[in-house]
């Protein structure tokens, strides 16, 4: 683990217990691309060869969570086995999992459908047109899914998009909203209040419980929010036959 970052509280990765039923392998204490890459690769390794007593695994931004059955497997044994797997390779430089896909999602930037684009562009030091060009071109990784079903945390945008959250809460943005702060975007699964800026609107559904798969996005997938016009997105939002918000989907690994 030559490139493991060292934090004030010690060296990474660290393995911690969450009560009796959880173990957490963390690769950093703040978001970084290598730590997210490590979490995705480590989780993929666990999924390839499931261990007895591990009921499910889930990556977060910089960690992998293991839900365990403490009556079926010994906590200390699992922790030791994790420690062994952690030390086998440099996870920060591991290849991303295979089978990842790229979703090119038609997005209307600004207009009354996404009214905070202009404020965000100014804060990022760009004109609206420049902002749309930059955002449209970015391929963002699904770093983790959570908070709401199927809802992706996407990153990272260039440094000029390292914008703080707004001080006032936006009381409600709709499902399919693309919101932005701290070099990340989130694509909303359900209408929700937010302190991030609503800069784009899509017809993408993160969670469609009666379809298979119910969750189109997986950790490690990529999303590109391609600019389109307001009428295009609006038409798709009202059309139940439009799949994945009209996205083009391509396998990238």
């Amino acid at each position: 683990m030559t490139s493991a970052p060292v934090s004030a509280s010690g060296s990474w990765p660290v393995i911690r217990s969450l009560g009796l039923t959880g173990l957490l392998v963390s690769f950093a204490d703040a978001f970084s691309e290598p730590a997210n890459r490590a979490a995705l690769a480590f989780r993929a390794a666990l999924e390839r060869d499931p261990w007895p007593g591990v009921e499910e695994t889930a990556p977060s931004l910089v960690s992998v969570f293991l839900r365990i059955d403490p009556l079926a497997a010994d906590h200390a044994d699992l922790a030791a086995r994790l420690s062994d797997l952690v030390s086998r390779q440099d996870w920060y430089e591991a290849p991303l999992p295979e089978g990842r896909r790229l979703f090119r999602v038609p997005t209307v930037y600004g207009t009354d459908l996404a009214p905070e684009l202009s404020e965000a562009a100014t804060a990022a030091g760009l004109s609206e047109a420049e902002a749309i060009r930059e955002l449209s071109a970015a391929r963002l990784r699904v770093m983790a899914l959570g908070f709401a079903p199927g809802q992706p945390y996407l990153g990272e945008l260039p440094e000029n998009w390292n914008l703080p959250r707004r001080t006032e809460l936006n009381p409600m943005v709709p499902a399919g909203a693309m919101i932005q702060a701290i070099r990340q975007c989130v694509l909303f699964s359900r209408p929700s209040p937010t302190g991030w800026r609503h800069i784009g609107q899509t017809a993408f559904e993160n969670f469609r419980p009666d379809s298979d798969p119910a969750f189109p996005l997986n950790p490690g997938d990529e999303v590109q929010f391609v600019a389109t016009d307001r009428a295009h997105v609006e038409r798709m939002m009202g059309d139940a036959d439009v799949l994945d918000g009209g996205a083009e989907v391509e396998v990238i690994s």
Binding site: R16, S17, L18, G19, L20, T21, G22, L24, S26, A28, D29, A30, F31, R43, E55, E56, T57, A58, P59, S60, L61, V62, S63, F65, R67, P70, L71, H75, A144, L145, G146, F147, A148, P149, G150, Q151, Y153, S189, R190, F207, P209, D210, A214, F215, N218, P219
Partner: protein, 338 residues
């Protein structure tokens, strides 16, 4: 198909089962019944599988009618219940004749009651479960006029009862260290154990908020932590320093520091703590926790062997007779006493 007709239902009446585990990576929490033990108790009373769906009733029940004879069981928080006007015993199974009216009122103690039917409620299975998960848009509260389909009942006895230990008035919750427990200094952790909490009325299927008279437990300097996976039982310290216990329908990821996590075996007690009732938190060791979980599983496995016929204490009979004489309601569940 047999159905239970809902004539009236409280706002917190939903179909619940053991939930949908396995979707944490996609951001969907397990959900399911708040008091999972109650599902096992209902299954034992009706001699059927614990993964069948039941009605969860938060605070208040409703008015129900059977369109064919049903076996029912009542578990969880005891509530005022009558069948065609005759009082029903809680933690017991009963015969519900076609056309009879089951009326379930408010909780007497505890917070969440359960109504089970023989064969379980056979509503649509979505993503592997029937449980309503409101924050995921899966199902919703049961509405007036709904005909809830009932699955095929293998039949069996009614008039059975289960003696249930009290978990309906708050008390001690055993806790274990979680990821950020070490961020809180020893003094704060000791204060957490010494504090007399109450259940804040502002609690729901997602989270149980604790109320207290002392200062909060916020980390010094308001240290922020990176968002990590959270699971039911985790105790988050929110921005105002208030501990919040995450419950069945919690979100899957959160960035508030977690001071501890509640032992799974004690989550039914947490779920059943009524608003305002006392709660205290006590750290136990992982070994103690493991022993408690083993005992809890053994107790669940033994439930069916502990079910016994509802035989009335002779001392109660005069009262019952006078009740029936006054009420004139003899019909409904005589077969229970055979």
């Amino acid at each position: 198909m047999t159905a239970l007709i809902v004539h009236r239902a409280g706002p917190g009446v939903t179909v619940q089962d053991l939930g949908r585990p396995g979707h944490l990576a996609q951001g969907l929490s397990r959900g399911g019944a708040m008091d999972r033990l109650a599902l096992y108790e209902g299954a034992a009373l009706l001699a059927q599988a614990p993964d069948l769906a039941a009605l969860e009733m938060v605070g208040i029940g409703g008015e129900f009618e059977a369109d064919a004879p049903l076996r029912i069981a009542l578990t969880g928080a005891p509530m005022k219940a009558t069948l065609d006007g005759a009082p029903l015993i809680w933690n017991a199974s009963h015969h519900m004749p076609a056309g009879s009216r089951l009326s379930i009122g408010g909780v007497i103690e505890g917070a969440v009651g359960y109504l089970h039917v023989g064969g379980g409620f056979d509503t649509d299975v979505r993503l592997g479960a029937r449980a309503a998960q409101l924050n995921a848009g899966l199902g919703g509260p049961v509405e007036e006029g709904t005909h809830l389909p009932v699955g095929t009942d293998r039949q069996g006895a009614t008039g059975m009862v289960l003696d249930v230990a009290d978990r309906f008035s708050g008390g001690r919750l055993r806790i274990l260290p979680s990821v950020q427990t070490g961020f809180f200094d020893e003094h704060t952790r000791a204060r957490l154990e010494a504090t007399a909490f109450q259940r804040d009325p502002r609690s729901n299927r997602m989270a149980l908020r604790l109320a207290m008279d002392v200062e909060g437990f916020a980390l010094e300097g308001g240290l922020t932590v990176v968002s990590e996976v959270i699971v039911p039982g985790d105790i988050q310290i929110t921005g105002d320093g208030v501990p919040v216990i995450l419950m069945a329908e919690c979100q899957t990821m959160g960035g508030y520091p977690r001071i501890a996590t509640v032992l799974p075996a004690d989550l039914p007690r947490a779920a059943q703590t009524p608003p305002g009732a006392p709660l205290n938190l006590v750290f136990i060791t992982p070994d103690e926790g493991l022993a408690a979980e083993r005992a809890d599983q053994a107790a669940r496995d033994a439930l069916r062997s502990r079910v016994r016929p509802l035989v009335r204490d002779p001392r109660d009979i005069p009262d019952l007779l006078s009740y029936h004489l006054a009420d004139g309601a003899i019909s409904g569940h005589e077969e229970e006493h055979q």
